[in-house]
Symmetry: C2
Subunit: 298 residues, 2 copies
């Protein structure tokens, strides 16, 4: 028996597409594909969605609420950024031009000084605030482009993006360091020590990267140590730059376990404990909040 959803929650990022069939306020099923927005031309979005949702009974009237890069300038249709400070879903949704689907896309957020943008994270923040309505503090969303977000009275006040995730991927996968950091495991004391070192002398960062390779060449240092050092250097440098965000405040980390744990650990070594919230659950809660707002406004 095929599922007939009340509405569909859609997380359409750069490299992945995921849908949840929502029925009576709960996710009854979910499907995903590799048709991320980054790999699609404009005419490719509707067929990709049709293929993904083919397993369910979906009509042109079924509400579909989406977040992520599907709403970027290179996406299906641009859902313009809303300026902060504002509540994370302040802008409402933009309908996709489709005869086949009733797709509503959540807008991203932008900040003028310093310049910054987010798209997708606003939905996770909305989900977190829906589940923790009185919460004030700073939310860290680790990923390819990690966001630090100051939240107060239900609004995003300011935020800052860090490229540490992308830098790690480039350095570990393609630089001369790749020979010295490829490991399945990870030396925790090295990570802790390196974070501490990067935070206390951030001006030394540039001098420390190549030492990972040199230590391997001269002393045969293990890749598990090399990997922990590279991650520790990058996360330590990020924490040094983000210190005004996280110092002396509540901290929540929204992320998958692999991404969130090193941040939580690094913050812990600085005497700044953080709560970890599951990224998927926050996305779903945020899409649900956006769906309710959209529905109630009709």
């Amino acid at each position: 028996m095929s599922i007939t959803p009340d509405w569909i929650a859609l997380d359409w990022g750069s490299s992945n597409l995921r849908a949840w069939a929502m029925k009576d306020g709960r996710a009854e099923a979910n499907v995903q594909s590799a048709d991320g927005a980054g790999g699609l031309i404009r005419d490719g979005f509707e067929p990709a969605l049709a293929e993904l949702l083919g397993v369910w009974n979906v009509t042109a009237r079924t509400p579909i609420i989406a977040c992520g890069m599907v709403g970027s300038r290179q996406g299906w249709v641009e859902a313009p950024y809303h300026p902060v400070p504002c509540s994370p879903l302040a802008q409402g949704t933009t309908p996709a031009p489709s005869e086949k689907f009733n797709l509503q896309i959540i807008a991203g957020l932008r900040q003028t000084t310093p310049s910054d943008v987010m798209r997708g994270e606003e939905t996770q923040i909305a989900g977190f605030l829906a589940l923790n309505p009185e919460w004030d503090g700073v939310i860290c969303l680790p990923g390819t482009h990690t966001k630090w977000v100051q939240v107060s009275a239900g609004e995003v006040v300011s935020f800052q993006t860090y490229m540490s995730g992308e830098l790690f991927a480039l350095l570990a996968g393609q630089s001369v360091l790749r020979h010295s950091v490829t490991a399945d495991n990870w030396d925790q004391p090295t990570f802790d020590f390196t974070v501490e070192e990067a935070l206390s002398k951030p001006e030394k960062l540039a001098a420390r990267l190549f030492a990972i390779r040199a230590d391997d060449l001269l002393d045969g240092t293990s890749p598990a140590i090399g990997r922990a050092r590279l991650s520790g250097l990058l996360i330590g440098a990020e924490l040094a730059a983000a210190r005004p965000y996280w110092l002396g405040t509540n901290i929540a980390i929204i992320g998958a376990e692999g991404a969130a744990t090193p941040y939580a650990r690094a913050l812990q070594t600085q005497g700044a404990p953080a709560t970890i919230a599951d990224a998927e659950r926050m996305t779903l809660a945020g899409l649900t909040a956006a769906y309710r707002t959209w529905r109630d406004a009709r």
Copy 2:
């Protein structure tokens, strides 16, 4: 009429192979190919060299003096690193196992604390010191892996490697910033300002990279500005870490014009003027010094 060299100078790096036919103390001709050491297996070195030198009259007795990655562990034969402090050519040369060529490979240098290695740059430093025998100070050799080298009384005292060049290539070519930094030109005031900013607040580096993309998205900032900012951030961060090297001393930069000029400019803005020495000329002078030492020792 084909050339019969007295000896051959060879610069065999990771990605290029270049030879000069030396006759009566001067380079009479040069040839090059893309057969860098990074792309060759062990059995591939001799044929690659034979192909390159085919245009000249070379016998199995013609001395060939080589520097660069040809002497690494993955090269033709390992020419082991010599520990600093020492004169740049302290180790002498290691012969390649060949019936066809009389190839002598210059050893690299290593440093124990902090761990570091160089291979190829020692020859340029030797060339610089051959041309400037009384010179003391710091030599900067910009490139994929930039070296800062403290030189005193004809010896390499200490050195430090920075990955700024490789980071620039990865970020400008493959990261999300590639959309915002691809330009033929370059905004000089932006570079100067960014270097200054990175030097005065090095802990902010991690926060400033993504702003290059955000400024482009929100304000349409030109790629010439984006490119100058990315380079200024990375060189500024390097200068912050290398400050103990360059502060209050003689500075020479050995590099091709495109690589050396931004470093010279950045140092100038800090009131630290640097002399630029041509990389190719230094390589040739260093190979010549190594040849004479080898010849005189026989």
